[in-house]
Symmetry: C2
């Protein structure tokens, strides 16, 4: 077991923004109704000003406020490990490194953006922040951040999850978050659904609609998004910036960087500081592998098109790989990977051939998670296990080719809240799902018609 530890001096003081380094400028976001390029002003009732600035800035480096770094210090810099026990288990000449974000109090990379988002809201005098959550990781991270800055957090949690995963709710409430089972009767959007179906189990799109309506209806309230948008990706680059320094300590540089992709902020946060070297020509051979579930194959089977981030179509149109916002993925345990689209920056780079993508079934990723627990000792969330699976494939390919290869993958969160899934896997009760081709095509056929 080799661990590369940065002391607090190694905590980054700037985030890396890939926008000015993109080979082709990012297509504009479009207004959800007019389909005109989105203006700053279109977002001011939804997001705090500093966050809107970060969404559009072309500055390569953005200073991390001292107040945010003070909180980051609770768990950052996070450790980078060389997985030498896994290497031996795989009998591979490859070197496998992983960056471990599960040491954060909420257990994943999500606080990296929850903390600055809540901070910027607090600084602007916003008293309350709303959001949606499915499985609960994002709602937990935001509740944690809210507690530290004294900002109220209201989480619209998909009703089926609210009842199936009471402990995730308890975690949010322990941090003082207010959790509502969505659809609620607190919003018009919720009441409309309940009028048609009083027993509606809810959906992520519905929860977003409620959280957005709530934020728009109150002057003291804004909305926070946990992935996909530029400012979220920006905040997550602390992961890759640290990893680069730690690999320097190890005297190494990755041949391939692997991450799991839900909305894309975890993958991009790890990968983009290395992608900068590929795009600049310093390291043109570095490869990037995005690992996603076959149950929600946004990159491998989606379409590069304009789509809304929410089911209701209230949010701006984003240029992204999407399986259609009406697509409801099968209920895999990697709930954080069930988003219908991906970060526009990641999608642009994938579209231009700078990123590869692979899709995995859930029994395959749990098989890797168990092997990892028994070799490296850590219990990994099913989301992160997709990245692990990709890394193992790279290590096996290196063995078969008889060549050295340096692999870096992102271990985005621990599996302490996923033991029900491990229980099902170990008992042989875990299912794989066919990619639901027909439903996917139906959802793709309903993508908004955008002239551009």
């Amino acid at each position: 077991m080799k661990k590369f530890v940065l002391t607090e001096d190694g905590l980054p003081d700037r985030w890396y923004n890939i926008l000015p380094d993109l080979p082709v400028p990012l297509k504009p976001y479009l207004h959800p109704v007019t389909h005109e390029p989105l203006a700053r002003e279109d977002l001011t009732s939804l997001l705090p000003d500093a966050v809107i600035d970060q969404e559009f800035t072309q500055e390569r480096w953005v200073d991390i406020p001292d107040e945010v770094r003070d909180i980051y210090r609770m768990w950052r810099p996070t450790p980078l490990y060389r997985a030498d026990r896994l290497e031996r288990a795989l009998d591979t000449p490859a070197k496998i490194y992983f960056k471990y974000e599960g040491v954060s109090p909420a257990g994943s990379h999500k606080p990296n953006t929850a903390v600055p988002q809540v901070y910027y809201n607090a600084r602007q005098g916003v008293r309350r922040v709303t959001t949606e959550t499915g499985a609960g990781q994002w709602g937990s991270a935001l509740s944690f951040a809210g507690a530290l800055f004294g900002v109220e957090v209201a989480v619209y949690m998909v009703k089926s999850s609210y009842h199936q995963k009471p402990y995730r709710r308890s975690l949010m409430e322990t941090w003082g978050g207010q959790v509502f089972a969505s659809p609620t009767d607190l919003t018009q959007a919720g009441r409309d659904v309940l009028a048609k179906d009083p027993d509606s189990p809810g959906s992520l799109g519905m929860a977003i609609a409620e959280a957005v309506e709530d934020a728009l209806s109150r002057d003291d309230t804004r909305f926070a998004l946990g992935s996909a948008m530029n400012h979220v990706v920006l905040h997550q680059t602390v992961i890759g910036i640290e990893a680069k320094r730690q690999l320097e300590m190890a005297g190494d540089y990755p041949d391939v960087v692997v991450g799991c992709v839900g909305g894309g902020s975890n993958f991009s946060g790890l990968a983009f500081p290395f992608m900068a070297d590929r795009l600049s020509g310093d390291r043109p051979q570095t490869r990037f592998v995005a690992a996603e579930p076959t149950a929600c194959p946004t990159l491998t089977q989606g379409r590069y098109a304009y789509d809304h981030p929410d089911t209701a179509g209230l949010g701006p149109l984003l240029p992204m790989h999407t399986v259609g916002r009406g697509f409801i993925p099968p209920p895999i345990h990697a709930g954080g990977l069930r988003f219908h689209g991906d970060a526009p920056t990641l999608c642009a780079l994938y579209d231009q051939g700078h990123v590869e993508a692979r899709a995995y079934d859930q029994t395959a990723v749990f098989t890797e998670a168990v092997r990892f627990a028994r070799s490296e000792g850590f219990l990994m969330a099913p989301e992160s296990s997709h990245a692990l699976r990709g890394a193992v494939e790279e290590a096996v390919a290196a063995r078969e080719a008889g060549e050295a290869r340096t692999i870096l993958f992102g271990f985005s969160g621990h599996g302490h809240f996923d033991l029900a899934a491990f229980d099902a896997f170990l008992a042989g009760r875990l299912e794989d799902y066919e990619t639901p081709r027909h439903e996917l095509e139906a959802a793709l056929n309903e993508l908004p018609q955008v002239a551009r």
Copy 2:
């Protein structure tokens, strides 16, 4: 938030043994049947030789094998934090530091001893290790260690917990541990119980009896204990040795050290490296506070006497503060604090006035755990929350006295596997229990009659 990070160079290479520094030599352990002082040989079929040596050694420092340090590096050195946000919430002039052991893969301090115990067994060619577990923390830590050294681990888990806490079982199984619901029909002890009561919910004492019988019945198998004995306390001193170095970095030394006490190894592991300075006269004013539950008040209401570590009376008689091995504590959520006795070294020091003890109700400790989550951000196990409660009392006393005070407490494990308890607390469903005085007296009246 201030964090004091030791790099890998700060990982201790020796454990601290308090036996040669005790003001009065420790009373001998006694043979469970003859009541004669226990000989090395009495333990050889139960424990590996190196562990027996460590149980009795009078060497002040014991080298940590490289193979153990290699595993420790996964999560050690653990961070030490200054809880400045909690200090502000309490409006206290006191400085509060905490040492966080929840970063280990199993989530508590338990792997500090599970890893060397399994290592010494593996080195001796032992193929299989048995143990008991109640709530599951110790069984998890041993399963984790077994996976890393390729040693089979068999865990006798109290049957009621086995069914109530299936996820703890899944965690052990993910690491490859074999988990049996005790009482089983695999041992004579288990069969005897089942013959009388086929629906027996089991008990910790029964599970120990089964694990011991299993180990004694097979040449390739030994037993492992998670607390109380000298070798366990020895291994846990990595906590205090690191904390001392980290406080030096901070330019500080504690006026008071606070830890929670179940079997006493977590408390002693943190406290003994500081206790050495009190006993040597270098720091005679340092105070030590042991925090225990009112539901199992071994120090505050128990008797200093000889008692067996197991209910069946198979284990050696240990000189300790005990509430009687027949005492069954109320079902508090801090399952790790429900042991009827304490480490003999800790008990001797308590008996001689070097340690103070306080007992807390569970709603009081959960109240502190929630305040801590909202101020310092981390979710704490109910066991550790007893130490937190003790630290808060010290900080409030400092405020009331208008004096500075440096407080160090042990944060021995995270609460990620305890969310059901937080759920109950937040919903107002958590009960306190009167100390069951009559049951306690009945158990004390059944203590073995020992001539010495």
